[in-house]
């Protein structure tokens, strides 16, 4: 349409004919969008925190196992360490870090108590940048090498076993020959973790020590891989699976179904929330436009008399809504960004630690801007707002010019 620029400018000026009303409507749009995007960022931060916790704890982004290991994690379902060619393949396909581990369920016993846990044989150097253990706060010391004879347990396990750093515990697990293997370890360190369940469930020993104890030769139970972007894991998994068809390759998304389920619930919740906000805001926009139409009936009649078509009248009214939405959405997003920036140091849920622990949430939630959510919210508002403004636009376009000019419409 040749005159679209004129109609655009015309619509923009019309918005400011009644500044108070426009400001109220803009405020509604701004606050609605701002609340939607800030809350979505907090929700995304929550699930992202859960995912990061899981990934950082021991899951990593990708795991490689012998077939059926995940169903029945025994030492006989093990793999040889990766060779130079295999490591080269992995690094060429986006893998940034690799940690090989022995990982077997076992039992820890102190003089007073016993507790079931997962015994993890690690190479401390490989764990750097792969799992939390390399940087976790430790009372005592961390394992120094894969042949370190000590054991590092969680603070909560110390409490459960009623023991302390420097004392000895006995760890029992099934060996690769199917027999019970046991060994006494001196507790050289006790780590703290984000979740108590982590502190209670895992005990770390040197990988060589574990292999020796469980009669695994130089085999390992799993390879844990890290990549740059956790969300882009699927194509990498496919490539690795094609290269290692004899192994089971799992992404963190498959290994952490709870996190993924929470994400799905969250997606649904956010869409419903966006819809409610957008619906409320749209009604505000429609109401404003209806008022504007009733106030400008005479002028609309004059425009028709001058040769403005019914279609152009629809365009004028919809453009006014569109411009109001653009301004409101921009302000809402900007304010939302400010809100997220204000909360950048996180929302501390330590006071609700027990509840958040139960749900697997991190103690501090860092809001995370998830552009897709913001885009969906903005688009939804545009679609609803514009669709809604078709009603006043239609009413305006159906005015009889004679009645409108004479004020009888």
């Amino acid at each position: 349409m040749k005159s679209i620029l004129l109609l655009f400018e015309f619509a923009f000026r019309n918005i400011w004919r009644n500044p108070k009303r426009s400001i109220v409507t803009l405020s509604a749009i701004t606050v609605g969008i701002c609340s939607a995007v800030v809350l979505s960022s907090i929700a995304r931060g929550l699930s992202r925190g859960m995912a990061e916790n899981a990934i950082k704890t021991l899951t990593g982004h990708i795991q490689i196992h012998a077939p059926n290991f995940l169903d029945d994690p025994t030492p006989d379902k093990s793999m040889n360490l990766l060779g130079a060619n295999e490591i080269s393949f992995l690094t060429q396909n986006g893998i940034k870090k690799i940690a090989a581990r022995v990982r077997i369920p076992g039992m820890a016993m102190s003089e007073r108590e016993s507790y079931g846990l997962v015994l993890v044989g690690i190479s401390p150097i490989e764990e750097s940048g792969v799992s939390f253990i390399s940087e976790a706060p430790i009372e005592g010391r961390m394992l120094t090498s894969e042949s370190d004879p000590g054991i590092v347990v969680g603070q909560d396990l110390l409490r459960v076993l009623k023991t302390s750093v420097g004392k000895r515990i006995v760890v029992m697990a099934q060996s690769s020959e199917g027999k019970i293997a046991d060994r006494g370890f001196k507790i050289v360190g006790a780590f703290s973790a984000e979740l108590r369940s982590t502190e209670k469930s895992f005990a770390f020993i040197g990988r060589s020590v574990a292999q020796e104890m469980l009669l695994m030769n130089h085999n390992v139970s799993e390879f844990v891989l890290r990549i740059d972007n956790a969300e882009k894991v699927a194509p990498i998994v496919e490539k690795i699976q094609a290269r290692f068809p004899e192994f089971e390759i799992k992404s963190w998304q498959e290994l952490e179904p709870l996190v993924m389920a929470l994400r799905k619930v969250q997606d649904g919740f956010l869409i419903i929330w966006f819809f409610i906000v957008v619906l409320a805001v749209s009604f505000g926009v429609i109401n404003t436009q209806l008022m504007a139409i009733f106030e400008r009936t005479r002028e609309l009649g004059v425009l028709m008399a001058l040769g403005v078509t019914q279609f152009q009248i629809v365009i004028i009214v919809c453009l006014e809504s569109f411009l109001m939405l653009v301004i409101g959405v921009l302000l809402g997003n900007a304010l939302g960004l400010c809100g997220v920036f204000y909360l950048r140091h996180g929302i501390d849920l330590t006071a609700f630690a027990a509840a958040s622990e139960q749900l697997g949430f991190a103690r501090i939630i860092f809001p995370h801007v998830f552009p897709r959510d913001w885009l969906i919210c903005d688009l939804l508002l545009f679609v609803m707002g514009i669709l809604g403004s078709f009603y006043p636009a239609y009413l305006a376009s159906r005015l009889n010019p004679v009645e409108a000019i004479s004020g009888r419409a």
């Binding site: 005159s3 040769g307 019914q310």
Partner: protein
């Protein structure tokens, strides 16, 4: 060829159960370049006749041929296009667009016609100067007097060189001096550019400017007087 040809034109408004005959079998021809005044008391049908000629309303019966085109054959869009390109309107209450300046009001119609920006601007200024509004181009309607606003309305009506300008009681809200000045301006534009003007009035001084006066009463033509 006549610019306006009305045949047996009737307009009946139905208000609830009451029928009001606004026009009753009016036939009228107007040739290009005429300066015609519709006069008569309130309710005589002046405005209704102007609205029908301007394709703003449709008759209950009868036909209107405008510059050779039967208005009843046109769609809404075609009628809008006809108004845009062939007819200029001047209203009693000026009816300028308040968010646009005097120049922008005048440019508005040309903008809709797709005329280039530089040509629009030049023509708008020329026309505003011709109606005596030099120096007031950027004032919005609220910053102009009634007479000035009506001059802007006249400028808006003639700027796209329409074949016909319809003015419904253009001087009704003006004092007598301003009214005479305005109608004198319209007359000079009629003589200068050959634009056909039809205006309604019941002001005897104003109707004195008309070369042809059509007197209406009770929706019918009572008398025609040519100067």
């Amino acid at each position: 060829m006549n610019i306006v040809e009305c045949k047996d034109l009737s307009k009946i408004y139905e208000d609830q159960s009451q029928k009001v005959v606004a026009l009753n079998s009016v036939s009228l021809s107007i040739v290009p370049g005429e300066f015609v005044s519709f006069v008569g008391p309130s309710g005589s049908g002046k405005t209704t006749l102007l609205n029908l000629i301007g394709a703003l309303d449709s008759p209950t019966s009868g036909s209107i041929i405008l510059d050779g085109v039967d208005l009843s054959t046109l769609s809404n869009r075609e009628q809008s296009d006809l108004r845009l390109r062939s007819i200029g309107f001047v209203f009693q209450a000026y009816n300028l667009i308040p968010v646009l300046s005097a120049r922008e009001n005048v440019e508005f119609v040309m903008h809709l016609q797709g005329i280039r920006a530089d040509e629009r601007r030049t023509r708008a200024k020329e026309v505003l100067i011709s109606v005596g509004l030099e120096g007031l181009f950027d004032r919005r309607p609220g910053e102009l007097s009634g007479g000035q606003q009506q001059r802007v309305a006249v400028a808006r009506a003639i700027v796209s060189k329409p074949k016909l300008v319809l003015a419904d009681e253009p001087t009704a809200n003006l004092d007598s001096t301003t009214a005479q000045n305005l109608i004198g301006l319209m007359r000079s534009l009629n003589e200068k550019f050959g634009i056909t003007f039809i205006f309604s009035t019941h002001d005897p001084i104003v109707m004195g400017f008309a070369r042809r006066v059509v007197k209406l009463r009770d929706g019918a033509i009572e008398e025609e007087v040519r100067a």
